[in-house]
């Protein structure tokens, strides 16, 4: 019973929050609503016994991602009212609703299967985090490491893109210009790009 109440409560909350995120024209509201939505989602994780996931959700999303977005908002100066020209707003909702309705139409049927075996069964005697760790560092070691590479890529990418070096495009400069810049850099190495 408690579970049901919690589910419905959080369901309504997340839906509301995300709806606000999607619909509001105030960027700040959107951001806030999304952060709230994320936190409510972590509640589901806790309900479902995925404690580790819940924690990650809060830390990564509400911590890191939201901070990044907040930074971005400030950078882009979109804290105020965002004017968006809506073209064919109706079709957007029709499509969204249609997608939802059709998937739901399939999902309402229960999954019938006798052949599903849990490869990595949840052991109630073990804490979720421990179990996750166990699986993560055996079975999912490779993806985990690749994820590390991915984060490295993202990091490099983010740094490179946001870097100062991008301000001056060699692509668009004539060769002579580039040569001049290089020459001046050599004369004043302290002004070189960092």
């Amino acid at each position: 019973m408690f579970e049901a109440i919690a589910f419905y409560l959080f369901a309504v909350l997340t839906i509301a929050m995300f709806t606000i995120t999607v619909m509001t024209s105030q960027a700040l509201y959107a951001l806030t609503a999304m952060a709230a939505g994320m936190i409510f989602i972590s509640a589901f994780f806790f309900i479902l016994g995925a404690d580790f996931l819940g924690a990650i959700q809060i830390i990564v999303y509400t911590g890191a991602v939201m901070a990044l977005y907040a930074f971005g908002m400030m950078f882009f100066d979109t804290t105020r009212n965002v004017v968006e020209k809506q073209t064919n707003p109706r079709i957007v909702f029709v499509l969204g609703v249609l997608a939802a309705v059709m998937v739901v139409a399939i999902f309402v049927a229960p999954i019938v299967s006798d052949n599903i075996e849990a490869l990595y069964p949840i052991n109630s005697q073990v804490g979720n985090t421990q179990a996750v760790g166990m699986v993560l560092f055996t079975k999912y070691l490779v993806p985990f490491e690749v994820a590390a590479v991915m984060l490295l890529v993202a990091m490099i990418g983010g740094i490179v893109l946001a870097g100062k070096k991008m301000d001056r495009s060699l692509t668009l400069m004539a060769e002579e210009e580039i040569a001049m810049i290089h020459a001046s850099n050599e004369r004043h190495p302290e002004k070189g790009e960092h």
Binding site: T14, I41, F107, A118, A131
Partner: protein, 101 residues
């Protein structure tokens, strides 16, 4: 009134649809990126729920990786937006139509 997997899946679907609506209607790129986060979060709920109901950890693993991916995407996405913003001073996608046809 028991909460079944179906409930979670439907919830996941609804959230996903909201994300889709956001993706389709947002013109401000930053806020469009919000919507992509919603998509991934919606699936995360589904994974966690399935994982729970099937008693299998793989779902949680998947969700875990999705969170990592989402985070990386934010980094790259924001990086791209920054260069774009520096160049044009706008992040409205309606202004981004130099290539077409």
């Amino acid at each position: 009134m028991e909460i079944t997997l179906t409930h979670y899946l439907v919830l996941s679907t609804i959230l996903f649809a909201i994300g889709l609506v956001g993706i389709m209607r947002r013109k401000n790129l930053l806020m469009l990126f919000f919507a992509t986060e919603i998509l991934l979060n919606a699936t995360n709920i589904g994974f966690a729920a399935i994982s729970h109901y099937l008693g299998d950890l793989s779902g949680q693993m998947f969700a875990f990786f999705i969170i990592a991916i989402a985070a990386s995407e934010v980094a790259i996405g924001l990086g791209l937006l920054i260069v774009w913003y520096k160049r044009t001073g706008k992040i409205d996608l309606d202004l981004m139509t130099s290539m077409r046809g």
